[in-house]
């Protein structure tokens, strides 16, 4: 009889639960409902879950629904890593969202090759394309066809704490020797010269990429990635780049625990004044506005990665990429509506809102510059002077190879890989991948 009462309780509970599940709770705001009868629905996924950037996107969506009352947009935002995972699975299972956030580069190229994204080359208004940053557009192209529209462009540079520099009589260095000297001085007075948190593997990769870029220019990488005849990832500029990385580690110019510190903590070290410099993309300005202490933004200056002795690479070349772009799934049932949405998301009004959050919209350089707040002007200069932008290596390569690049670089920082080993592993992997693809 005790069992009976237990079963009774379970039964009631089960019934309640069943009812609850059927009714279930809606968790999220799905955006304003248009007034006219809705005949089309677009699912749109992005990563701005809160704050000014979310507001900017929401405003763009609202403008779109106003001008397209027959379309309803179901917006969902997820945290960065969760987003990548969710999108990857959804694509593989054949049920991706219609419009989604992308970073261009090799990942988009892979999607394009696999036929998962819509070819936008002939679908987007030429006049609109002309307003966008040419380099950023290039990062959204694969085999000459366009697969996404960029909304954000970023450049990597050294950010420095003007106050600390002033205190110790330092000037932003132009040469690598100058950088080393500045680091030595800072270390001597007990300030960590450069903040680095390489747990996520990509911040450290900036150092490697810049060394390679300054040493050999963009050609060795471009040729090796395209598997051109005679090109290899064991090119001397890559091995030397590895040595450059290890040089910094050996001299102790980086903050402690490089491989176990994450990007968030790395920023903290810089914003707290515990480190004097950091090598990071311009998107960090958006973080600075929210996280750094009062008045820190004015103290934040930037200078381009210095020239390296014996380097053949142009000094103005900049490492950067598209940090927000929008692509459309190939199976989207309303491609015209989707293209219109993406156009709105990369339009002038959206760019203006984006610029106010501290990030650089992907407009043609002069137009972008006009919209930027004072603290972003310095990096806009660096970007403006650049003859070309080199896409972050891990984004430029196919995802699997990009992963090897990041892991071997992490090994360089950890001292578990020699520069020659790291280069060899990259080349081996690239070859193995090429063989696999061969019919």
């Amino acid at each position: 009889m005790k069992t009976k009462s237990v079963l009774a309780v379970l039964g009631v509970a089960a019934a309640l639960l069943a009812g609850f599940l059927v009714v279930s709770i809606r968790g999220r705001d799905r955006g304003r409902r248009p007034v006219a009868p809705v005949t089309k629905t677009l699912a749109f996924w992005h990563i701005q879950t809160k704050g000014e950037t979310k507001a900017a996107i929401d405003a763009a969506v609202a403008r779109f629904t106003k001008s397209h009352p027959d379309v309803s947009v179901e917006v969902a935002a997820f945290e960065n890593d969760a987003f990548k995972k969710k999108l990857a699975v959804a694509m593989a299972a054949g049920s991706p969202p219609d419009v989604f956030y992308t970073w261009g580069g090799g990942v988009l190229a892979a999607d394009a090759a696999a036929g998962r994204v819509l070819d936008l080359t002939d679908r987007v208004d030429a006049a609109h394309l002309a307003t966008l940053n040419a380099a950023a557009l290039e990062f959204c192209r694969s085999e000459g066809r366009l697969y996404a529209l960029p909304a954000d462009v970023a450049a990597v540079a050294f950010w420095y704490n003007k106050e600390i520099f002033r205190e110790h009589g330092l000037e932003p260095p132009k040469t690598y020797a100058g950088l080393l000297a500045a680091c030595a001085k800072l270390k001597a007075v007990g300030v960590a010269p450069i903040a680095l948190g390489n747990k996520d593997k990509w911040p450290g990769a900036f150092f490697f990429s810049y060394f390679a870029l300054r040493l050999g220019g963009p050609e060795p990488f471009a040729r090796a990635a395209a598997r051109k005849e005679g090109a290899t990832f064991e090119h001397p500029s890559f091995v030397e780049a590895g040595r450059g990385v290890q040089g910094l580690v050996e001299r102790g110019y980086l903050t402690k625990g490089v491989n176990s510190t994450d990007y968030t903590r790395m920023r903290q070290l810089f914003f707290n004044g515990e480190a004097a410099m950091m090598l990071m993309g311009s998107f960090v300005l958006g973080n600075a506005r929210k996280e750094a202490p009062e008045g820190f933004l004015e103290k934040m200056g930037c200078f381009p990665f210095p020239t390296v002795p014996g380097g053949k690479g142009e000094a103005s070349l900049v490492l950067g990429g598209v940090n927000a772009g929008y692509a459309i799934a190939r199976g989207c049932r309303h491609p015209d509506a989707a293209v219109a949405l993406v156009t709105e998301l990369t339009g002038a009004a959206a760019a203006e809102a984006w610029a106010r959050t501290g990030r650089i919209p992907a407009l043609a350089p002069e137009r972008a510059r006009a919209l930027l707040p004072p603290e972003s002007q310095a990096i806009a200069d660096v970007l403006g002077r650049a003859r070309a932008i080199q896409l972050y290596y891990d984004q430029a390569l196919p995802p699997e190879l990009g992963e090897v690049h990041k892991t071997t670089t992490q090994g360089l920082f950890a001292g578990t890989k020699t520069p020659a080993e790291a280069a060899r592993l990259m080349e081996q992997k690239a070859r193995a991948m090429a063989e696999r693809e061969a019919p």
């Binding site: 005790k2 069992t3 379970l10 509970a13 089960a14 639960l17 069943a18 609850f20 599940l21 059927v22 279930s24 709770i25 809606r26 968790g27 999220r28 799905r30 990563i47 879950t49 809160k50 704050g51 179901e74 969902a76 935002a77 997820f78 945290e79 960065n80 890593d81 969760a82 995972k85 969710k86 699975v89 959804a90 593989a92 299972a93 054949g94 049920s95 968030t264 920023r267 903290q268 914003f271 707290n272 973080n287 929210k290 996280e291 202490p293």
Partner: protein
């Protein structure tokens, strides 16, 4: 009490207190950091807060969509637990006591099911859910959770039921009890520790589960998803991250504190042997 016994008592408390500190410190730290101001939290990690910033909690609660997520997690977890116990107990009993052809095969099947990492099933499951209209439903998610927890539950129940003395069952059979009767009236009441074990195990697995919830839900969210989103949103603003996490942590802890007194009572009550 003899001095020796008193000393043993003190040592006992000391050891228990040490482990208490180790186990509870993170939660206390979370709450404490959540009460700090922005600069304080970023600058001084380990000291206590100065002025208590309750506003952090308010801000995070507003942003979070907590209530809905918490209720969703509760619904999904409760259904998965109930379903798992209800399905696994008879299955375990059958495998342990009712000899039938194919029982070894079924047992092996469940055994294999225990050891599969969930990630490889994400794509097939999403496809299945899309086709059957279960995408973004709590019921679908609960069904998957049940399915993944069944193997361990079945194996545990089977192991437990094997320990039940046969004489008791044979006596019931002589009294005219069929298999189901024996199960319901004799074996099940004795199985309370196993039930408790399966409940605890399933609850713990399901409550914090992230990967399946991320992939199979869209507009609905469970608590782990909300927590992850907040981590991403607040990034370097430690005080807000901590406040967000503290809110996510406290209700389950309170529920557990209240429930575990019953848990233990249930464990001891059903443990009559011989």
């Amino acid at each position: 009490m003899s001095p020796r016994a008193r000393f043993a008592g003190v040592v006992r408390y000391a050891v228990l207190a040490l482990f208490f500190a180790l186990a509870a410190y993170p939660v206390l730290w979370m709450v404490s950091t959540g009460l700090k101001g922005a600069r304080e939290a970023a600058g001084d990690w380990w000291g206590p807060p100065g002025a208590l910033q309750w506003s952090n909690f308010a801000e995070v609660w507003k942003d979070g969509g907590y209530l809905a997520a918490f209720l969703n997690s509760l619904a999904v977890s409760a259904s998965a637990v109930v379903a798992t116990v209800a399905l696994a107990a008879p299955a375990g009993y059958a495998l342990a006591r009712l000899r039938f052809r194919g029982s070894r095969g079924v047992f092996l099947l469940f055994l294999a099911g225990m050891m599969v990492p969930v990630h490889v099933t994400l794509i097939p499951l999403l496809r299945l859910f899309d086709r059957t209209g279960l995408y973004d439903t709590l019921a679908g998610l609960a069904a998957v959770y049940t399915a993944f927890n069944l193997p361990v539950a079945v194996v545990l129940f089977a192991a437990f039921f094997r320990e039940v003395p046969r004489e008791v069952e044979e006596a019931a059979a002589l009294d005219g009890c069929g298999a189901w009767g024996t199960f319901r009236l004799i074996a099940l009441p004795l199985a309370r520790p196993a039930v408790v074990g399966v409940v605890v195990l399933t609850l713990v697995n399901v409550w914090n589960e992230f990967a399946l919830a991320l992939v199979l839900l869209r507009d609905k969210q469970t608590l782990p998803l909300v927590v992850q989103n907040l981590r991403g949103e607040y990034g370097g603003e430690v005080h807000l991250v901590a406040a967000a996490l503290a809110i996510a942590v406290v209700p389950p802890l309170v529920v557990y504190a209240l429930a575990q007194r019953h848990l233990v009572r249930g464990l001891t009550a059903g443990a009559v042997k011989g």
